[in-house]
Structures are given as structure tokens and as C-alpha cells.
Amino acid sequence: MYGMVNKAVEDMVVMQHGEAIWEQIKAKAGVDVEVFISNEGYPDEVTYNLVAAASEVLTMPAEVVLHSFGEHWVLHTAQEGYGGLMKAAGKTLPEFLRNLPNFHSRVSMIFPKLRPPRFQCSDITDGSLKLHYFSHRQGLAPFVVGLMHGLGKMFKTPVTVRLVEALAEGADHDVFDVTWTPAQAS
């Protein structure tokens, strides 16, 4: 996982719980890294350990931590570092979601060590679409849900996300049914 992900986790914990808790989580996760370099690749275990330790220290289920992380990623991390690009990627939620696959493809080009997930949209209507999430990593569906909710907040469009097909349940990939209110989205 690239450093920016771990950095985002750090950013979220520090912002919401303070530096001491982050140090505690790092210690519990056995992560002895002072500064995560955004475009440097780190073992996925680092991220998983951090999430697990955060779950333990913050006494929250890992799914809740990942969901919060997804929202935080969209609303803070991406905004601070990639705000311009995020805005260029679409002026509305549907537009952004439609561009998401290309956006991710370009990102994977820039970060060659990245093994990014792949997104695909289908069944696009004025108020919904199906988001296909292809990833070799397990258990990140709550993160995707958090991302979707964060995007809904960013575009001020109430959004409902439902996992309709799950990799963990034997499906080929995760499929999310994303619905929003067309009038407000346009």
C-alpha cells in the first residue's frame, strides 16, 4: 500500500483522537515509522495492522474504522492533496463516479508500484449505478462504502450504498448498489 494510505490513517486518528493515541496505535501495530512517504510503497500488513490496532485502541469494530477512513479519505486527505484533480474529475456525484474508473487507471499509471483496485460502473441511471470494485485485497468493502458516503457529502448529495455482491461471500468482486437523489445531484 502506498504511504499516502497509511498517512491518511494517521491523519484521521490524529485529527479525531490526538497524537498520543496515534503513537499508541503505532506501538500496538508494531509500526516504527516516523513519517510515511506518500508515493512510497509499504507492505499491506502495515495498513492492516494499523487498522486492527486502531480498532483495538479506539474500541471500534474494524469495519467502522474503515468506513470512517473512507469518509476521511474523500473529505480530508484527497481534498488536501488532490482537491483540484477531484474537482476536475466531475462536478456532480454521477459525473465523478463515471470518471472514477479512468481516474484510477491514471493513478495506477503514476504509481507503478501500486496495485490499485479497479472500479467499473454499470447500470447507470439518473439516480443510481452499480459500482464494481475489483481488488486483490480482502475486507476493504467498508472502506469503499465510506468513500461513497464521503463523496456524497462532498457533492452534497445524500447517497445510499449497499453491498449487493461480496468477494468475501464468494463473488468475483464486490458490487455496490449506489443510489442518490437525481434532482439534487444534477
Binding site: K7, I37, F103, I110
Partner: protein
Amino acid sequence: MNPADQPVSSQIGLPPKQFAAAFPFHFALDRNLRLLQAGSTLRRICGDVRPGMDATEVFRPVQPEGHLTWQWILDNRLRFFLLDHSSTGLRLRGEFVLLPGEDTLVFLGSPWFADAAEIAAHDLGFEDFAIHDPVVDMLQVFQASKAALADANKLAAKLTQQRAELRSANERLHQQEAETRKLALIAARTDNAVVLADAEGKTVWVNEGFTRLTGYTLEEMRGKKPGWVLQGPGTDPETLRRIRDQLRKGAGFSEEILNCKKDGRTYWVAIEVQPICDSAGRLVNYMSIQKDITAQRAAQRRLAIQLEVSRVLVEADELHAGLCGLLRVISQNLGWQVGEFWRMETGRLRFMDLWYSAIGDVAEFVGKSYSMEFALGVGLPGRVWLSKEPVWIPDVTCDVNFLRREVAAKVDLHGAFGFPVIVRGELWGVMAFYSRNIEEPEDALLKTFASVGNQIGQFIARQEAEQSLRDSERRYRELFERTSDLIQSVAEDGSFVYVNRAWRDCLGYEEEDLRHIKVWDTIHPDCRDHCANIFGRLMAGEQVGRVDVKFVKKTGQPVIAEGFVYVSAEEGSAKHSRGMFRDVTLRVQAEQELHKTNALQQAILEGASYSIISTSPDGTILTFNSAAERMLGYSSKEVVGKATPAIIHDIDEVTARAAELTRELGRPVQPGFEAFVAKAALGQPDEREWTYIRKDGSRLPVFLSVTALFNDHHEIAGYLGLASDITDRKRAAHELLKAKEDAELASQAKTEFLATISHELRTPLTSIRGFLQTILSDPDMPPASREEFLKVVHDQSLRLSRLVDDLLNLTSLEGGRGQFNDEPLNLRQIAENCLQEFQPLAAEKSLRLEADLAATLPAFKGDVVRLQSVFINLLGNAVKFTPGGGTVRLLLDEYQGRIRITVQDTGPGIPRDQQQKIFEKFHRVYRRGSAATGTGLGLPIVQAIVEHYHGRIELESEEGRGSCFRVFLPLVQGVSECPLGH
């Protein structure tokens, strides 16, 4: 599809749609640099990019530098171009391509952004770019680079911070190492003993200070617990127990403890022990620092002895108890067994007192002391006497000069010292102490006892002085107790401090009572405010001095006292008011009685209407009462002590009285003061009339009674003269005499009046009776005669009637019984009527009757009948007495605020000697040849009426020339008229 694109796409050989999607920011130019077509996105965001526009007005080349011309572009068409759109600032990057036919140049490029935010700023999105366009990817790369750079900066900052912290930590470490080295050096070289022990308390290391303090080396101590080596029999077991408790708990402690050196000497140390733990918290060592406090302890012991000595001396109220206490506290503080006091008496030091410890049997030693005495230089006391300095004997059993050395050895007493007690520079006694131990001399302790000796000497001197003072106080107290004056001492709160026997006896209180009462309870209620005021002033520091106080006995009876009070002002003591009073109740009562008597006498003296003058035996006036002042015009100040009664007497009278007394007494009496008192001095009353001469020279008849005043020895102490003013009495006597004379005159007048009236009445009656007898006796009387006679009878009866009327009228006027009916009158009318009445008679006598009546007169109120009587009597007299041919005038006018009535005639006038008498009753003016008739009452009646109206009547007459009567009646009735000229 835009038609303008057609030529380009067709020339390139791409379908127009793909061309448009692939190059949304392209534009094409002809040889004149006119825009032929442009990409859809370029047209959208740059409104002036439209066919026909001059490209040089729309775009400005940035790279390469130059001006847009056809040829310039051709020359540079293989180069990378940067063009700025003039109006939006949009920068395009790309290249120019010359299309076949060489008449069209196409710019193929896309916008260039350094920041992703610029995309949105130009209202662009990802979909406005061709998919192949790397601009968005470049922006992502830029963003990733920026993020990486930020991370690198953050890392660098973190590293810098950590390096700084590391450097700081290193510095601290170096400092700690230096401190540790220093501490180790200090520990090694400090005067304090430092011991490092292992967790079991066994010595690992000791410093040089430890060796110096204890005499033990590191080698001797290593592996041994310090307590095993250093503690001795004198070490306090309780302290040891506390130390062991702390060590068992692995805790530090601080204690003071008595240890033994290697050579056996004891010493006091303050020990501080701290446990040392490793990083895991395990106890690994004990570090002990020991400070030698032997000297400090000795100083504390000396200080304690001094304090104890001071306390005993302060608390002791008599010498013997003080010395016993001193022997005890010094022995106990030193831990020694015996203390003795040797008193200097008749050239020897003799036993006076001792104290010895109950621990150990020293009875034989002290028993020997009772019978001992020392000469100069002998034994410990004698040596102290000799040197007059403290003397220390480490072991008396080895001292040949110590007489009791054998018994001392027997009871195991060794160390001893003594010090002198000096009083007023002379040796008063010696104190000596004995210990079971052999005691090395302590210079500081000896100095302390030299000081203590002086302190005891001062105490003894003070005790002697206090004893002397007590003796003195006892004497004074006896004096106070035996005096008859009342003495009291009162505290500031009013409670009694002391009262003497006379006070208690007088006021009836017992000593016990005084604890339950305040001074106010002994002050009479009438006097409490006064005394409270005095008490307050006293306590405020005011000098009050003599005071009068009214006490009240316990039984409630008042006691009047006088005395003085003051406040005791001894420094540092409470304020007491002290007073000494004398019971003057009897004297005051006598004075009050005397005062009352004096006041009564004074009141009598001053209230008397008699002149009271007392003199000394030689005549000097001593008393001159108010009546005398009023009577004589002198004030008492003018005469008392300055004059004799001679100043108020007529010298001629005095001379005459002296002559009289000379004759009466048969011895010469001087015409001076003796003339007043010669008889009184003989004890005889002398009362007689005198003439006093007032200060203003006027004279005053008095009746003077002179009495001699005798003292208790029957000697003449002075004289008293009582004189009463007899002016009134004399006047009354004179008036009585005059009244008698007046009564006699009135009686005479009455007799004369009766005689006159009898005559006046008898005359007509005689005439009537005579003529009637004649007529009656002669019946044949001729009628003419009878008629003539009857006429006479008629006239006489008329006269008699008129006489009676006038008499009644006058009597009523004189008696004040006359009736006056006053009313507003017209006097002119009355005058005219009266004149009219006299007209016939005047005519008959050929008289001129003239009138001059004022036309207007002020209003006048009066009785018309009375006023008519005035006019008629005056006019009647004038007409009657004026001979024929004469004139009678009546004038009526206002004169000086009065009514004036004037009746003037030309008659014979009235002789001067009769002008007053004519106003008397029955007085008629005698005139030769005149046969005037009248009652003689007319003018008295006029005068009585005029006087009733407060008027007056005047007569102006001259014989032969007529008379003029003027009557003045005041207009304002009630105001008396005065005669003219007055």
C-alpha cells in the same frame, strides 16, 4: 460537427468526430493567419477563437519568442510552441503542422497547467481533454511529487528535531556524567561519612570521611553491616528499632544516633539513608551519608542546660527552692549523679544543699558531704573558691586534693566539676557535680557554667533584693493597715487589688467580699458618674489628684471621704488606680449644719426690713445688711471693714448724746462710737431715736436699738445695731395730728355752718312769724297794710324756699350724690335762653344786657339743668349787683380747646380780700348801703358744677370797676383743667 473542421480532418485523414475528440484544443490558420477552425473545447472557453479572427490578436507566442507570421511559424514549426490566449491567459502547449497544399497550419496542443486547481479555474473537466492527453496525468504526477516533497520535508523536519533532541540528550548525559564524577569526588572527599551498602546492607564502599570520623577503613568495613561495627551501649534502642523497620521496607530514613568510634569514644551522627534501585525498580544498594553532630549536640545540651537554668530561676520564688531546682536540672541534663551547693559563710565553704540521682547508691558520698566544710584551695569547692573559675576534675578518685576520693571510688563517682556563684563581685557559693564516668573536660561546657554561675549570682542578688523589697512592703503594709485613712488599690476592670483595714472597717466589707465586688459597688449612686469620670481620666493617664468621694457601706449608709488618687505606672505591669481617703462624714455633716444655720442667719439678715449693722468692739463695721444698704445708700462693700457707724450719724446728735450719757453715767463719754455703745457695753439696752444721714446727705429718722455681743468667755465680741426707719411713723403721727386739727376745724365749720344756716333760716322765719302774728293780732288791720304784710311774708317764704333748694343742691353736689344727665348740648341756645330770662329784670333796672356768643362751638356733652344753673347764677349775681345804667355782658366762645363762659359786669366789684371767700357757702360780700339778697350758695354751686366737669372758674374783679367771672370747661371731659398760669 463544425464545418470549419472539415478541411483539416479530411486533410489529415481522420473522421471529423475522432479528430474533434482527439484535438479539442486545436486551431487552423491560413496564410493570412486568419482562423479557419478551432476545437470545440477551445472555442467554449475562449470566446474570441472563431473563424475569421486574426490569430495574432488572439494568441501571443511565449516559446519560441517572436511575432506570429506565416513564415515565422513555418521557420519554427518543428519547435515546441507555447501560446497564451490573450484574453483568458490560457496557455496552450503543442506544435504547428503544415497541412498538405501548404496553405494551412494546424496547431495541435492542449492547455498547460502547473496546478490542478487551474483546470476548474478555467471551467474545465477531465472530459474536456482527449483521453490521450497527458496533461491530467502530469498534474497527478506533479501532485504526487508535491506530496512526496511535503513528506520529505516533514521527514527532514522530524529528523532535524530528533537530531536536536539527541544532541540535547547527549549534552544532558554529559552533564550528568560530569555531575556524577563530581558527586563521586565529593563523596570521596567530603567531611561527611558516606557508606555504600548492598541490598542486604553490607558495606560495599566507604569514603575517606567515614574513616576520619570512625577510624575504620574500607577494608575493615567491607562486607560488614555498619551497625554491627558502630553501635555501642549508649545507642538508643528505640532509634535502632525505627532504622531496622525502615530498612526492612526498603525505605530511606533520617535519624540522629549515638555511635562508637574505633577507639571507643562516642559520637553523634545525623544519618540519611537512601535506597538505590535499578531501572527495573529493584533495590540494589543503600547509600548512607553520616554527618558528625557531636559538637552540635553538645551545644544543644549546653543550650538546654542554660534554658533549664533560666526556667528554674524564673519560676523559683525563693532561694532554697531555686538552688535545689538548679542542682537537679543541671545534673539531669548532664546525666551526672550528684550535685552540691557550698555556701560561703564566715570564711569557709559550708554545705548548703544537694541533689543526687535515685539510680545508683551514692548515699555514703552525700552523707559525708553534710558534715564537710572547705577552706580556700581545699577540695573541689576550695579550688573553685581560689580560682573563682570553673574547675574540672576528670577523675576525683585519682585527685589527691579531693578529700572524699576514697568514698567517691567506693560509690563509683569519677568525673567532677564545680563553678563559682558570684554575687556583687564576691564569691557567694560553689556548685559541684559528680559523674559515674571519667569525664574529659569540655571547655565550652565550663564556659557555659561560668555564665550559669553569673546567672545564679544575679538570681541570688535579685532574691535578696526582692526579700528586702518584701520586708519593705511588709513594713509599708503594716503602716497602711494601721493608718486610719482608707487605702485602696483597684485594677483597670474595677476589681480590688488591695484595701487596708481602715477601709474594710469603715465600709464594713471582709477580705472575702472583695473578690466578689467591684469598686463601683462601694461608690454611692449619687457619686458613681463622678467617680467613673475620674476613674476613666486616671486610666487615660491624666493626673487627677485630690478628689471627694461618697462611698456606700455594705449596710447602705453613705460615707463621705476626701483624698487623692493616682495611677501606678510601673512599666510592664497592669495599671492600678490607688487612692487614700479620709472619712469626713461627721465633719461634712457638721459643715452642712453650719452652712444651713449660716444660710438661715444670712437669710434673716438679708430678709430683715431692719437695718442690721454689727461692728467689732472698736467700732469697725462687720455686718451691713441689705436693709441697711437700701436705707442708707451705701453698699456693704463700701463700709464693711472700712468704716464706723459715725459716717451715718449727725455729729450734733452724737455730741448731744455723749453729753447726755456723760451726765447719766457719771463718767466722760466721748462724742464718737462710744456714744452709741456706752450703755450697751454695760449690758443695758439702749433704744432711742436717731437721725441717720444717707450717702446722698438726706436725713432719715430711725429707731435704733444697740446691743453688745458677747463671746463664750463673756467678753464683748462686738455690737449689733438694729434700726428701723420711722419716717412713716412720724409722718403718720403728723398726719394724725393734722387730721385731728382738720376734724376740729370741720367741727368748728359745722358749728359755724349750723349757726349760719340757723341764722339764715331763722331770719325769714322770724320775719314771717312776726308779720303773721301782727296780722293775726290785728283783725282790723287796714287791707293795704295787710296786703303789704302778706307780700313780705310771701317774699320771705320764697327766699326760704330758694335757700332750702340751693342748700339741697349744693349738698348733693358736694357729697358726690348729684345726678348728672349728660347729653350733647347746644350751649349757645342755653346761653340765649338764660339771657332771655334776665331781660325783664335788666330792663327794670335799666341795665344793658349784652351778649357775644360764638356762632359755632364744638360739641359739648353735659347736664342741661346744671349748665343752666351756671349761667343763671353768674348772670343773676351780675344783674343783681350791677347798679342801674350799668352793663352786663355774656360771652361764650372756644378758648384753647375749652368752652369759655365769661360774665362781665360794671358792678361795684369784689374786694380783694373777699375774692376767695365768695366761693364759700353763705358768704356774701358786705357792701355798705347794699341790701343785696341771696343765699350765699350760688357761687359754691357754680364752682361744684365746674369742678364736676373738671373745669375751673376764675375771677377778675376790682372794687368800683366791676367783676368778670370766667368759666373754662374742657371739651374732653375727664381731663382736669389747670388754673391759668400753672
